[in-house]
């Protein structure tokens, strides 16, 4: 079936359409400045991207890897997973945006000009994120990651509020400095690739490509590789929200418009993590996995630790969710450090699961804070009685995120812990269990308090808009389904991605 499909839709046109659609969307948004049209364009373009990504997904499952333009675009199973997440989350976000930004527009928080700027930024943000996993050239990948920072700063700045300006500034400065380190790391890897032992350094165009680096990784100078990987993990780790470089994350995620929070948290962190993973593969190929594994375990554990105590004492709903992102990225990092086929499988599954649950939580919390007109958890009571669907969705998301059994995160957390205990990392796994228990206590307490009880000031019952409910229900469906059954093509894709790690 795939073979006949590829004749109708060749892979080159599919990739080009995926990359160019958001740009076209941005142009159309700039030209047609009507509110209704902006919303339609964004939804149509993200639907189209999702459709094409799904086709590409079938191709990658069939052919394992797809290259284009002399390996300028290089898509293997690992990049395909990130691509799927980007397109799916941006699709649900675009649906949710209509409702959320529409409500902000009615309330007079944003005006026409802001709305146009929001949808332009939204499309360009998707474009820059799509470039990260598809490009083979590590230098251009850095440029794309830096571009995601800049465009998301612009999206946070939509609101002219003190808090938004403060957090945008913090995000811009910390992420830019952090990414400078990532560029240093990238250049060190490139230097290791161009400097043969005998010949003096010669600049060759293809040698900055990831495939070329992986091929030659055995001949790299071990000292340079070690320095370079430390720079990479600090650099892309800043963007991925790994503690102790996570300080920008709670501010940026809580101050941006909710659909953007969902995308920042669900997929942008994964994009940055993808950068670390690419260089992790090169460094394991060069000096063995032990050095980089230990670094990943240390940073991962630190993230989970800091995030767990921050969640315990959190008063703001969106900040709590942001710290929960730090925690989950920490768990994924830790799992890649544990290694082993089950550990890597669990880590990749956890990336997917987190990218489904966290947007769900952000969407629900956005609706809740619009309804109650506050983000302080102390003031929010009785969501389930006031907004039945949102309340139940919020409850499901919360239970899923702490890892209770019928939902998807339980499965991946179980795999990660299993691989931790079976790979001589007993201490790290035990600490992880204790920290997860702390997260559980902090999260569940707030969740129960907000969901039940009686509101302090009487609030009119009822949902806010049908479209937000549609977006949330779609996510809930995936959360429940992936908890009990992983579809076969997805299973093959994750296995292929895990095998990439096994080969080096």
């Amino acid at each position: 079936m795939v073979n006949s499909l590829i004749k109708i839709l060749p892979e080159s046109s599919v990739i080009m359409c995926i990359v160019l659609t958001p740009l076209l969307g941005c142009c159309l948004v700039t030209l047609l400045q009507k509110k209704r049209l902006l919303e339609i364009i964004s939804v149509v373009s993200s639907t189209f991207i999702l459709f094409l990504t799904f086709i590409l997904f079938l191709y990658v499952v069939e052919f394992k890897k797809i290259t284009l333009f002399n390996e300028f675009f290089y898509i293997d199973s690992l990049s395909m997973i990130v691509l799927l997440l980007i397109s799916f989350v941006s699709f649900v976000s675009s649906i949710y945006s209509i409702n959320y930004m529409g409500k902000q527009f009615e309330d007079g928080i944003v005006d026409d000009r802001h709305l146009v700027r929001y949808y332009q930024g939204f499309n360009i943000f998707i474009f820059t994120m799509l470039l990260v996993p598809t490009i083979n050239n590590t230098g251009l990948m850095w440029v794309a990651v830096e571009a995601t920072t800049l465009i998301s700063v612009l999206l946070i700045m939509i609101y002219v509020k003190e808090d938004a300006i403060r957090s945008a500034w913090k995000y811009l400065i910390i992420a830019t400095v952090g990414l400078s380190f990532a560029l240093i790391g990238t250049v060190f890897f490139y230097y290791a690739n161009i400097s043969d032992q005998m010949e003096p350094a010669q600049s060759v165009e293809d040698k900055i490509n990831w495939t070329s680096m992986l091929e030659n990784s055995r001949a790299f100078d071990p000292i340079i590789v070690k320095i370079a990987f430390i720079f990479i993990i600090i650099g892309y780790g800043t963007k991925a929200g790994i503690a102790p470089m996570h300080t920008w994350l709670p501010d940026a995620h809580s101050e941006s418009p909710t659909p953007i929070s969902a995308m920042l948290s669900g997929v942008l962190l994964n994009c940055a993590l993808y950068g670390i993973l690419r260089f992790y593969l090169i460094s394991s190929g060069s000096i063995g996995a032990e050095f980089s594994d230990n670094l990943l375990i240390i940073f991962g554990l630190m993230s989970v630790g800091i995030a767990s105590f921050s969640i315990l004492f959190q008063k703001d709903m969106k900040r709590m969710l942001a710290y929960s992102s730090v925690e989950h990225i920490g768990i994924v990092t830790l799992a890649f450090g544990f290694g082993g086929l089950i550990g890597i499988y669990g880590a990749i599954l956890h990336m997917i699961n987190h990218a489904l649950v966290k947007p769900l939580m952000f969407f629900a919390s956005g609706k809740i804070s619009q309804k109650y007109e506050t983000k302080a958890m102390i003031k929010i009571r009785g969501i389930v009685t006031n907004m039945p669907i949102t309340g139940i969705v919020f409850l499901i998301g919360g239970l899923a995120i702490v890892g209770l059994p019928p939902f998807n995160i339980f499965l991946s957390k179980f795999m990660i812990l299993y691989s931790g205990f079976s790979s001589d990392n007993i201490l790290a796994s035990m600490v992880l269990i204790i920290l997860l228990a702390i997260v559980f206590i902090g999260f569940i307490r707030n969740l129960i308090m907000m969901s039940f009880g009686k509101p302090k000031t009487p609030i009119k019952n009822g949902e806010l808009g049908i479209l937000s409910v549609v977006a949330m229900v779609m996510l809930v469906a995936f959360v429940v389904i992936l908890g009990i059954y992983i579809p076969e093509p997805l299973d093959i894709l994750i296995n292929d991605a895990a095998n990439i790690f096994k080969q080096v």
Binding site: G139, M157, I165, I184, Y190, P200, A201, I224
Partner: protein, 225 residues
């Protein structure tokens, strides 16, 4: 080596211009110093281009000069025109100028020491400019930490970016042009965004301390009923 003396002279000049940038207190003063530092950097770029005989480096030098010596200073001067004195000028930095100076000297020594650990072969350009670029990066970070006024964190960021440019150039002798242009565009957009932010900070915040303080809203305190 024929160029050895020239390279050492140039790296010394760049370090001196960086130190001048560190000790400036006024906003207008450091913009001027930044312009001089960028001009020195441009000369270094041209020399590297001449030695390696690579035309792409000349393009990079042209972009560096026009972007960082002409556009960025003008932009920053323009957006800060209407901002009050307290927002621009460092009256009480976290680290005094004296401490910064001593710290910078230590960092320069440290970067020369640490780059000795890397085997560079007999690459003259990398040997003379790699330590300088690392020290520029470290000094940039120190300046960012040391300044209290939010606006002046940009000083550190710009020093850091110059260091980054020199680092890439000295180690790789010109990464491919498309990547360099990408990096330049990122820098330019970053500076534009930060100047919009500066502009907004200028009229949104009444007091300079507002920008730095973490917010403690009354909203979160528990009500007794």
């Amino acid at each position: 080596m024929v160029y050895n003396n020239l390279l050492i002279f140039l790296s010394g000049t760049l370090l001196i211009s960086t130190i001048v940038l560190v000790i400036k207190r006024e906003f207008s003063g450091w913009i001027q110093a930044y312009r001089y530092q960028t001009i020195v950097l441009t000369i270094i770029t041209v020399v590297i281009g001449y030695i390696t005989n690579n035309w792409e480096i000349y393009v990079a030098a042209t972009i560096t000069f026009s972007l960082k010596a002409l556009i960025v200073p003008r932009l920053l001067i323009k957006v800060t025109e209407n901002i009050s004195y307290d927002f621009k000028n460092e009256t009480k930095p976290y680290l005094s100028i004296r401490t910064l100076l001593v710290g910078s000297a230590i960092l320069v020594a440290l970067s020369y020491f640490s780059t000795q650990q890397i085997r560079l072969g007999d690459d003259v350009i990398a040997m003379s400019f790699l330590p300088v670029s690392i020290s520029l990066l470290l000094i940039g970070l120190l300046v960012m930490v040391g300044r209290k006024v939010t606006l002046n964190q940009i000083v550190g960021l710009l020093i850091l970016e110059n260091g980054l440019f020199l680092f890439v150039l000295s180690l790789t002798h010109g990464i491919s042009l498309i990547i360099e242009i990408g990096i330049f565009i990122d820098i330019l957009v970053g500076i534009v965004i930060s100047s919009i932010l500066i502009h907004r900070i200028g009229y949104t915040f009444d007091d300079i301390n507002d920008v730095n303080q973490s917010h403690e809203n009354l909203e979160y305190t528990e009500e007794l009923d």
